[in-house]
């Protein structure tokens, strides 16, 4: 396939279609609305299911229903809408249903604004609803990654019977970049052996998340935790740039990570031994790689478009071995390469002083 100039939101939508999306349910919200709009045409053309729900809550519950039948299903929203879906996420996790949720994050809290943000990090990685679970969270930093991760999201969702989120921000959603789409996959026709299809000639099936007795509840949770451990051991992903000999490791994901790339390039040009690690999975967090790198680095700088959320994961991965600095912008502000470069220089200077002292 040739590279095309594509908007992030549209690219995600088309990638989902090609990955075999059979049903989409969503509710408009800036800055992801083009995704829904695109699918309102595309899915109908293909004879697949598109339905604009009356709310985000309805959308996630339609997703829950459709996922119960074993097909590939998706919804998309942005921060306030994601908040409204929390109960639904928890039910999906409790019922072990695969599905894909796209969150094109915007500035918060509250109504906030429609500018790019990474303010939902905690919400998506830590507690996408009550109870113990984590969605798999993929964080693209370019339109190409948005495409690739959307496809991956469906595969992981199905493989692990798990909720997978693709978490971008308004900038990635709105930006056009050249990127290549995968070819169209066949839509699956035979569903998995837990899917609801009517109990014709087989025992009845149940999709639920009730475990009335503590023992049942615990047994189920153990199973979930075991699956999460498996995912953790297998699916940590990150992109690295000049980390081999880096003394200062910059860590940022999505847009912040991409902009940090430019800053790291500039820092290298200025002779600073700086590297970049850009987590591509936010959950599972690439802690192994960071932990390994923490043996060779002398400091770390976390860059986020929020008040400091992933920094907890970085600290946990590093375990106190080296100091972790933070540079963050909030409320819809996107840092510029210069800003990050300045933060790099500051941390770098401090790091050098520290060693001298």
């Amino acid at each position: 396939m040739a590279r095309e100039l594509m908007k992030g939101n549209i690219a995600i939508a088309e990638a989902a279609v090609r990955a075999g999306l059979q049903a989409y349910f969503g509710y408009p919200i800036t800055p992801q609305t083009e995704l829904l709009e695109y699918l309102s045409q595309r899915m109908v053309e293909l004879g697949r299911i598109f339905l604009q729900a009356e709310s985000e809550i309805a959308a996630i519950n339609m997703v829950y229903g459709a996922a119960s039948t074993g097909v590939r299903v998706m919804t998309s929203s942005s921060s306030p809408g994601i908040s409204l879906m929390q109960e639904g996420f928890s039910y999906l996790a409790g019922a072990q249903l695969p599905c894909v949720v796209v969150d094109v994050m915007r500035g918060g809290p509250g109504l906030g604004n429609i500018l790019p943000s990474q303010g939902d990090y905690f919400q998506v990685t830590r507690s996408a609803g009550h109870g113990d679970f984590h969605p798999i969270v993929l964080a693209p930093a370019s339109v190409q990654e948005a495409i690739d991760f959307t496809v991956l999201a469906f595969d992981l969702a199905e493989q692990y019977r798990h909720l997978v989120m693709v978490v971008a921000d308004g900038q990635i959603g709105q930006m056009m970049e050249p990127a290549e789409l995968p070819s169209m996959r066949e839509v699956q026709t035979v569903g998995p052996d837990w899917a609801l299809t009517g109990a014709r000639g087989r025992p009845k099936r149940l999709i639920s998340s009730i475990y009335m007795l503590g023992e049942e509840g615990e047994a189920f949770n153990r199973q979930v935790q075991a699956r999460l451990q498996l995912i953790k051991s297998r699916e940590q992903r990150c992109f690295e740039y000049q980390t081999e000999d880096a003394e200062l490791l910059v860590i940022g994901y999505g847009t912040a990570g991409r902009i940090a790339y430019t800053a790291v390039e500039a820092a290298r040009a200025a002779g600073l031994k700086v590297g970049l690690l850009r987590p591509q999975t936010l959950w599972p967090f690439p802690e192994e790689r960071i932990s390994t790198l923490s043996d060779s680095i002398r400091a770390c700088l976390v860059v986020e478009m929020n008040a400091g959320q992933m920094i907890d994961d970085v600290r946990l991965a590093i375990g106190g071995q080296v100091p972790v600095d933070f540079y963050g912008r909030m409320g819809g502000v996107v840092p510029m390469p210069d800003d990050i470069l300045a933060a790099i220089e500051e941390t770098y200077a401090r790091m050098t002083v520290r060693v001298r002292a």
């Binding site: 009356e54 996922a67 009845k204 099936r205 009730i210």
Partner: protein, 260 residues
């Protein structure tokens, strides 16, 4: 005590358990008419031969365990969201029969938006709506269907309509919506009404089989436990107090439904 389950010789079975019901005990309180509603639905599924192509959406409410009681595929929806879950199922499986079974707290209170929109879109699903004027499962709090003056655990002095309004007649509201084609209210308080209720469920399922649109059967039901009455008293209470507030009748039967 040993139950006598040996059939009398030389007699025909006139009535026995529908096969769509699982052979298990229910957790319902003695005399709770949820059980009657279950049986009616099961009989209808049997009669229409739908058991193997039905997906049942359970609510959160006393009937949350309905999946234990029916020999059909089922799915437990979050509280109030059964119509949205049913929409998801039905859109993917348009040739299956999708039934939601919901209480008044579930359907009228937290889930008012979802049922309203499913009805407006004309989702080809059937909703069995059990109106017992109270939140049964959580211990008898006021519902939007609680009668004026009715004492509940959250309206201990009786429902004060100046502060909480009059009961919502949801069938009448839903009948306003374009996609709703069959909307009726029946009662389970005596044998004659139970028979009418069954006919309504049968019609509602046929409406769905014919793909005509959204169908809803509201059933006035008892909650002896939370009403603090014996089951027979509760039946009488439905007749004397609920029926006047929730008149039985057909609120919408489109021509296409009449032609069925």
């Amino acid at each position: 005590m040993v139950a006598t389950l040996i059939p009398p010789i030389e007699m025909d079975v006139i009535y026995e358990r529908p096969t769509a019901l699982s052979p298990v005990h229910t957790h319902y309180c003695p005399g709770c008419t949820h059980g009657i509603a279950h049986r009616l639905l099961a009989e209808c599924l049997d009669e229409l031969g739908l058991r193997e192509q039905t997906v049942l959406i359970a609510p959160v409410g006393c009937s949350v365990f309905i999946y234990n009681y029916f020999e059909v595929d089922s799915c437990v929806a979050p509280h109030g969201r059964a119509p949205a879950v049913a929409t998801g199922v039905k859109r993917v499986l348009p040739d299956r029969i999708v039934v939601t079974y919901q209480g008044d707290g579930d359907l009228v209170s937290i889930g008012a938006g979802e049922v309203l929109h499913a009805a407006a879109r004309g989702e080809r699903i059937t909703t069995v709506f059990i109106n017992n004027a109270v939140y049964g499962m959580t211990g008898g709090q006021m519902a939007p269907t609680t009668l004026p003056g009715q004492k509940t655990t959250s309206s201990p002095a009786g429902r004060d309509i100046r502060m909480t309004g009059n009961p919502i007649r949801m069938s009448e509201v839903i009948a306003q919506l374009g996609g709703a084609v069959y909307v009726v209210r029946r009662s389970l308080h005596d044998v004659a009404n139970i028979r009418k209720a069954k006919k309504a469920i049968l019609t509602a399922l046929k409406v769905q089989m014919a793909g005509l649109g959204f169908s809803l059967v509201e059933l006035l039901s008892t909650c002896p436990t939370n009403w603090g009455m014996s089951p027979p008293e509760a039946m009488e209470w439905v007749e004397r107090h609920m029926v006047p507030v929730f008149p039985l009748g057909d609120f919408k039967v489109t021509d296409a439904v009449k032609d069925l």
